[in-house]
Symmetry: C2
Subunit: 387 residues, 2 copies
């Protein structure tokens, strides 16, 4: 199997930019990615895969070609991939497949979403489309409501409290405060997080990620191309899986089986395990999701996530920093950009460009992107310092 490498990565700031277009945000991310990829020029690009949920109905058809033509890539095969909030995690995986197949030497994987130029109700509708339609969305279950059901089940099953959700928020805001691209780049105290208004019991405002605008792009290349680039991070493992879209159809509410399966595949391809991971960017759309990720990714045993957060293991200076970027909670969650944006952070960490939030000695990084409440998941294991 051909090797694939990440050789460049960039993102726009995440935040509320109602006057930006999906094209202008993507262009910002693409240009930063290209600038970071010394050795690759636009004319080298063989393929583009763009993740987006298509929130807001700007260009519902052909939005892949619409953003790539805007940055001068007309002609290049370009398509949109959608897997709810995992859209661009799957875009990265597809770009990796394109390179491994031999059909591309250089592939762009990106994503974008513009979400804040709508009234609150419309934004809620769009978020809801990531849930199951007939028995979740149409019966009034909001997306935070779905994760609240998982949170309740978790509190029931294990020795955990809502304070553990709040500690996730405190940690991720502490990291995001060091990230100039973060949407909510401020610190929060444990008291702030504990006392926030309830959104969907037991989840409060600080247990939920924001609705963000933004874009991200990464450049995936063959070994030949990568060996002439300034920086290269090896895609050691890739794993993906689906699961029943509706939560009510699943066997467990305290585990996301698609994550566990995706991680198993990614570790197997990489020949590495959770113990080898130096840091991870995980899908913390809600605080409970980060705790479930610790367990599904094998960072601890079932029910052990609360201890992991209590002991500070996943803090920036802990043994296994999680979400050094600030995660979805603080860095933000522009749906279609999120998965590629996690790989942007991993690339920066593994090439020593993460500035104030650099994880020291980071060699192996993991990214974990979830669609909906787990209908889809994708995991990448990335290795720096190989070429």
């Amino acid at each position: 199997m051909r090797e694939a490498y990440i050789v460049g990565a960039g993102q726009s700031a995440y935040g509320a930019f109602p006057n930006e277009s999906y094209r202008s945000l993507f262009a910002t991310a693409y240009e930063e990615a290209m600038d970071s990829a010394g050795g690759v020029d636009p004319e080298d690009v063989d393929e583009a895969v763009i993740g987006s949920l298509g929130v807001g109905g700007r260009q519902l058809g052909l939005s892949g070609p619409a953003v790539t033509e805007h940055v001068g890539l007309h002609g290049v095969p370009s398509s949109r991939i959608e897997n709810a909030c995992a859209a661009s995690g799957y875009a990265v995986r597809q770009a990796v497949q394109a390179v491994k197949s031999g059909m591309a030497d250089v592939a762009i994987a990106g994503g974008y979403e513009v979400m804040t130029d709508m009234s609150g109700d419309v934004a809620k509708y769009w978020l809801g489309v990531s849930g199951e339609t007939e028995w979740e969305r149409l019966t009034g279950t909001t997306f935070s409501g779905v994760y609240a059901q998982m949170a309740s089940a978790y509190l029931d099953a294990y020795d955990a409290t809502p304070d553990h959700f709040s500690k996730v928020a405190v940690k991720n805001h502490a990291n995001g405060a060091k990230n100039p691209k973060a949407h909510l780049g401020f610190e929060c105290s444990l008291e702030d997080a504990q006392n926030a208004p309830v959104v969907a019991d037991p989840l409060n405002l600080y247990h939920c990620c924001p609705t963000s605008d933004g874009a991200a792009a990464v450049i995936v290349a063959s070994e030949d191309v990568a060996s002439s680039c300034d920086d290269a991070v090896r895609v050691a493992g890739v794993g993906a899986a689906s699961e029943r879209v509706g939560l009510f159809q699943r066997e467990s509410y305290t585990s996301i089986e698609s994550t566990a399966r995706a991680a198993e595949s990614a570790y197997e391809m990489a020949g590495l395990g959770p113990d080898d991971v130096d840091f991870a960017e995980v899908h913390d759309c809600f605080a409970i999701a980060e705790l479930l990720a610790y367990e599904d990714l094998g960072f601890c045993e079932r029910g052990g996530a609360a201890t992991l957060i209590d002991d500070g293991v996943t803090e920036l200076d802990g043994d296994l920093p999680v979400n050094p970027s600030g995660g979805l909670k603080s860095k933000g969650h522009p749906i279609g950009a999120t998965g590629a944006g996690q790989v942007v952070e991993a690339f920066k960490q593994l090439t020593g460009h993460a500035d104030d939030r650099q994880v020291s000695g980071a060699t192996v990084g993991l990214t974990h992107n979830v669609g909906g409440s787990g209908g889809a998941a994708v995991v990448h294991v990335l290795e720096g310092g190989v070429l």
Copy 2:
């Protein structure tokens, strides 16, 4: 580069089935594909790629996993790809990349659309999303209007008349009348086609494809798997390209550059040329599109399409039959299903299962799927009798 083969293919009937769901239509196609693939079982499936424009807002997020879970494939990596009317042509290409990458031995590529359960105005809106948003759709240009501009330019540039559009309709209806899965499976006379009401001058009703419901699925497999299957068609060449989404931004109205580029790539990979093609399924969303395809695919020189149709070359018993299935015009055009459905027809032709519409001696087939007015195109060159 690993070889990839089509080892099974199926489709629902195309037509107006407002009481069917996107899930039930996909299940019909998937089951026929599986039944045709002696040697492959559901548990062998490593990957699923589902094309859909998402018409009608049923399950806008995660509809890939939503249809694959319905046929028992939960767990399998599953995603939705969108490239307007080329969605599932790109899904097939992505499945081919998955197999060639070595990350999958068996990949399902499918597509679906349910379009007839909406009022006429809503359906028109959804079709319009395949056009460019700001300067086409929002200024009132319908999708037939976009192709009418191409048709006018073609009539201006070359020695062709609207009768040539009508002859395309007559040919494709003659073929579709032999296809039990066709939406408009009846013959039409040249007079019928000439005297139909105008839709967008110079295009009349018989120069436009219908709005259809339907689904299609193909099974792509590695050589190892294919060698133990009943039938196998080699994916000899794959090509894809994008182009500026808005027609007004292009250099030519009488050629779809993305088709020409995609064909060039596919022929190059296959080591074959247009002279080697025994039949083709081309994207005749409007009759002018079939004539442009003849030229962009290299079946004749520029301006030569009218002569090709006049001489009967592309009829079922001609030297180069085009759209033996009936094409989008007669077989129908359920947007997300169309590209995969073309590969279904090519598989049947190349394995000798096309019954009354069998192209005799067919060894090399070409499929050609266009997104919008050419913002995306994808071409497959398929070879039977190899394994």
